[in-house]
């Protein structure tokens, strides 16, 4: 028997999914479904939009209004959906390359407008669909098929990038920290305005293999040991913080939301 969550929120006939064994993406997809269930959203009023890449195949499995667009452009399509019908709860699923390389312009402008879109970034630090090329979040010195001698680029911190562009909600979590992920995605969807949750995923097939990260379990353990909530980190002595990455909710503030502002103009013009 299937779990009620699966029965209620997924298109059963579309499984098995295309992701490799050990891929972290399914964990994030399930977390989104749990958050929608917890919030009691009307499935008919939820729209999930994605671009191109491994993560962008998620909407095809999810039983909502789903839109699989062109590479990098999910946020631009989603902006049209949301502005044309603000009643819809619009969630954007995007990989690190999709969101911060080819779609980087749309990310900063959606954040700047504070339009009510929830963006969940499935960040596995690599272009998985095309076979393991380095992405804007591949750490310096790490390898990809297009960085055979080590990556000389500096990586983006997508959460900080969104905050810098004006996101009113931004958080980071990992596929190991699932309870935290559920809470953050729930908060992000509830948030009025632009919200982003960067979920650090794992790609054992390409990133892990290229960079000798060991087994799937090793990669999950690495997430467990390397990430610490920034509120916890504040209280830690410097030696315990060394080499750690910070996660958790970084910003959560209320500012005027774009579609509401536009509706105000419409109302004013009626007078």
């Amino acid at each position: 028997m299937n779990h009620p969550l699966v029965e209620g929120y997924f298109r059963m006939e579309k499984f098995p999914h295309i992701w490799c064994p050990g891929c972290g993406h399914g964990i994030i997809m399930a977390s989104i479904a749990r958050s929608i269930e917890k919030l009691g959203l009307d499935k008919d009023k939820v729209c999930i939009v994605s671009g191109i890449g491994c993560s962008s195949r998620a909407p095809g499995y999810m039983d909502f209004n789903t839109l699989h667009t062109t590479h990098g452009r999910a946020l631009a399509f989603a902006t049209g959906v949301k502005l044309a019908n603000p009643e819809l709860e619009v969630i954007v699923i995007a990989g690190d390359g999709d969101l911060s390389a080819i779609g980087g312009n749309h990310l900063i402008h959606a954040a700047r407008r504070n339009i009510g879109l929830t963006t969940i970034c499935f960040n596995n630090n690599i272009y998985g669909m095309t076979g393991g090329q380095y992405s804007p979040t591949t750490p310096t010195n790490e390898k990809g098929t297009t960085a055979p001698y080590g990556n000389i680029d500096k990586p983006f911190d997508i959460t900080q990038l969104a905050m810098g562009a004006g996101a009113t909600y931004a958080a980071k979590t990992t596929v190991y920290h699932v309870n935290q992920m559920d809470k953050l995605i729930e908060s992000a969807i509830s948030h009025k305005g632009f919200s982003l949750v960067e979920a650090i995923s794992i790609c054992p097939t390409y990133y892990g293999r290229k960079n000798k990260k060991g087994s799937v379990v090793d990669m999950m353990n690495w997430l467990k040991d390397s990430f610490v909530d920034h509120k916890v980190a504040e209280k830690l002595p410097p030696e315990k913080k060394e080499g750690k990455f910070l996660m958790g909710e970084f910003i959560n503030k209320i500012e005027p939301e774009y579609t509401e502002q536009y509706d105000k103009i419409i109302e004013q013009l009626k007078k």
Binding site: V49, G60, R73, G80, N85
Partner: protein
Amino acid sequence: MARKVKFLQGNEACVEGALMAGMTFYSGYPITPSTEIAELSAEGLPRIGGKFIQMEDEIAGIAAAIGASLTGAKAMTATSGPGFSLKQENIGYAALTEVPVVIVNVQRGGPSTGLPTAPGQGDLMQAMWGTHGDHPVICLTPDSVKETFDLTIRAFNLAEKYRTPVILLTDEITGHMREKIEIPDQSEIEIYNRIKPTLGEDYKAYKVYDGDIVPKMADFGSGFRYHVTGLMHDETGFPSNSTKNAAVLMDRLMAKIENNKEDIITYEEIETADAEYLIVAYGGTARTAKAAIKTLRAEGIKVGLFRPITVWPFPEKQVVELSEKVKDVLVAELNYGQMKLEVERVVKGNCPVRFCGKANGEVLTPEELIRKFKEVL
């Protein structure tokens, strides 16, 4: 009947037409010489409860319009040469996913940044072949302010009827030219709205039901939770790698335009009944040709004009028929012979096909066209 007489630019008439056609959403990016279309949409749309958004780039401009259309809005974006190039990928997306959207390209001069404030007609082939892969295209070209108004309405109607992107290919001549235009009352305008499914009925998002030309299109949020993808898909809308299925989809997409050419294609013929010579011209250049024909006819030369209004699909049948009657066809356009190639292809040697054109940002004068024409006498 409340008709209004106005003195408008083509770009302004485009927005008047769009609003009358039922446009409720515009997204775009500023670019010369199409800017007035964005400005007037920004002013007019919120007054009727519609939405305007200036996006961060040209690509986002068309992407947001497609997204809006999926919620049921009639959406438009406008641009010019460089922006038209940038929109190409998503034009193909709208073609494959069958999302109605109107794309206006007010053509300017030259490749690259070229001549931003001067006219050109160099995007004719791009309108057909700009996006990758085979795909259906409908492309309309007006030669006056009034026709810009009429064809904008027609572009929306065809987009809704055939569930396909429709390109309104104007140029800097018609876009910025001012003419007197009588705007009809809304009740006089024929409007076509996309066919939507009814809740409770059997519904497959990409199945053509009996009696329909295209699949019924449900608004996102209306209770049909379906999937839209730019991957090849089956009747349900979900991706499919089956080559057999891809052939079914591609055949259907191409056929919905091919089989309805009679409905889609419009054209104008002037003095062709007894014509011994034919000039083919479209858009702003047709104005030059009309003046030239007047002069030539006054001199007793039997010359006529064929003006494609629908340029894609190309009015092949009509051009072939005329080519069987005349001694010579002269194609006039502001490029290096893009429509000339198409005319040559379809007349298949029935008569010589000559060319008169330039791409330096100037309009073609009647004198230039007459001089070129007379080389054949």
